[in-house]
Symmetry: C2
Subunit: 135 residues, 2 copies
DNA sequence: CCGGTAACAAGAATCAATACTATTTAAGCA
DNA sequence: TGCTTAAATAGTATTGATTCTTGTTACCGG
């Protein structure tokens, strides 16, 4: 009684788009990116497939930034920095939570931890320059 | 040339509502909570003041969960667990990132880290029971 | 080739969040 | 206390990301 997932060219293109960029795209970004090669692509299809990829763990959500959900196709352990000013997301490879912390939390609180994320917020190099005064 | 911030009974009530609960409320929750005592409260006022509190660091955002932004009036260092099933947020007091990691990231990447958060995702005790099969 | 169904496009609907405008009210001062 | 004025608000309209609906297309097994 498995729900089959058929092959689809659009779905493949959507996944490829996410996995081939480091910019942590939104649904709209993916849509605009694929539009030229897939003129009949629908925004709804992008949303549907992003949800699908997220559900089966193929991609992760970085969270909602300035009103739009942002995704990440890089599953290697790393953290993110999010600029409070421009909304840019920067990868922080090698930056991770304490080892075993997820398991410790699961045990201590009776939870089933499936994912753990460490996120930093502040100003990116570009925005630091444009902010003459502090904070 | 400072922009004065006048006293406002509604604003005080909104802050009190957030600080007096452990449920990490949304704007809508605060609105419904205060409605009985403040029949003429406007949802816009709730949003405006939540943004104000967030801007001056009186409250923090937990992030957007199931389409609604959730807030936290507890500024003590702690982390959160978010249930992927019911959206409940559970406090994890004492659970923190590695000490000094924010400063290390700032230095290493030339960023200005203002805030750092560690978040766990998975199933809460209630939802574990209702999920007979894994994940 | 045919029937069943996943995937899809297009557009409508939803709804959290924001913007707008007229009104109310806090705060300083005579 | 009464006056002034700009912040704060209520109420309503609007926005915009996301989801849903409907009818169509295309893949797959038989």
């Amino acid at each position: 009684m498995e729900r089959a997932t058929r092959y689809s060219k659009k779905r493949e293109a959507i996944l490829a788009a996410i996995q081939s960029t480091r910019c942590h795209p939104s649904a709209e970004w993916v849509y605009q990116r694929l539009k030229p090669d897939h003129p009949d692509l629908s925004l709804g299809t992008v949303y549907r497939n992003l949800a699908l990829f997220q559900a089966n763990g193929t991609i992760h959500s970085v969270g909602v930034i300035q009103g739009q959900e942002r995704f990440d196709g890089d599953l290697s352990p790393h953290s993110h920095f999010i600029c409070n000013c421009c909304g840019q997301v920067i990868d922080l490879p090698g930056v991770t939570p304490k080892a075993g912390q997820d398991r410790a939390v699961s045990r201590q609180y009776g939870l089933k931890v499936q994912h753990c994320e460490l996120t930093f917020h502040g100003l990116c190099p570009d925005c630091i320059q444009q902010e003459p005064f502090d904070l």
